[in-house]
Amino acid sequence: MIDQRIQVLLNEALGVPKDIEMFTEIYTEMVLQELEALRLSGNYEEDERFSNNYGTMIIKEYSSEISGEDTWHFVENNPNFDIETWKKFPAYKNKFVVLASVYEDRLFEENDLKPSVGGSHSFEIENFKITNHPELGDIFELGDYEISVQCSQSQFDNVESLRTVVESTVTHEITHAYQLYKRYVNDNKVGFGSETTLNVMASKNRSQFSEGWNEFLTCLYLSLKLEINARIPQAFRVLKTQKFNNYEEFITALKNTEAWEDIQRLRKFSADRIIDELSTIRDFEDIFKKPMAQTDVREKINMWNDVLQFITDKMIDMGFSINPYKNLSSNVISNPKLFFKHWEKVFHKRAKEYFVRIAKLYGML
């Protein structure tokens, strides 16, 4: 009963869908089993990397692919599978790519590194539809997942130790699939909408010269509502494994989550600091680098509206549902400081909203 109450509260307060719970549990189990199978196979590539502190390091790179057929077989035969729950989110035959980069223990131990799990979800617009299966009814093939683990040898040898971090990433990616599904079912719209343009910008417009610009793009990505919506259930998965006696203890635990890092990053974004970084010469290298960084950033800002319009037009051509792009004013575009100030305001507002939403988790844990 308490679990049900938590779920209802979660749904209402945060929009974290109960419908993804079953998939989170089953796919997490599948990924952990795949990691264990990879470990037992002993089949890896060696990657050499150099570190100033450690010299040459050998990293074991494991990789495998689980076909859509196999994932569905795993799902429907899992003891947690419930057909009525599944019908609320009838995801079917999703391909998984599972990757693991395994490092020497000393590297993780001496640097206080935790295992990290990256993920991504992608879909094929041509197959973005609900079809009817003769036995199952409506099914929705939502696309592919990639789960990428970075851990130490000891952590890899005890795959169970990776459960929480794998589960939190899996739930993040399933949330993206669920966002797409609900948008399609409720509004008959394909894709994430206008935020896709900013996601594309953040993914493919980095600067070779300006760290400040790249930090701006990272914050742009973290500020997307589609991202924050996926990061709340992700944090919930981590926090629910811990016990709190009071709000202070909750905040202490929260400070160890990626969500906290995200919020701090958005809060600390400073237009003045970027402008300062672009204009201050601190060493010999900067004499050559800074003018290039200034030119590069100025050109990227000058093209901002054109690039987003270009992406929007392409999306419309390809069949995505998206509203026309709303230009930033010429005043903002013509002045880098005003441009970054505009985004600073957006990022700080999103940081506040993100924190408020995540703080509400306290009442549910």
């Binding site: 990397r49 502190n53 992608s122 970075q150 993206h176 894709g191 054109d306």
Partner: protein
């Protein structure tokens, strides 16, 4: 400066439009590199 998306193939653009969380890898790498100072790849790809 050219529009960085202009010369992408349809497939490349489609991947960008439909894939989430590409920047997360940079965030993870940044955290890792900051802690380890693992700053430059030497070479890759030798098989076991």
């Amino acid at each position: 400066m050219k529009n960085p998306f202009e010369n992408l193939s349809r497939e490349e653009l489609m991947e960008l439009l439909t894939k989430t969380d590409i920047p997360q890898k940079w965030i993870n790498d940044e955290i890792f590199n900051k802690k380890v100072n693992n700053d430059r790849p030497k070479n890759t790809g030798s098989s076991k």
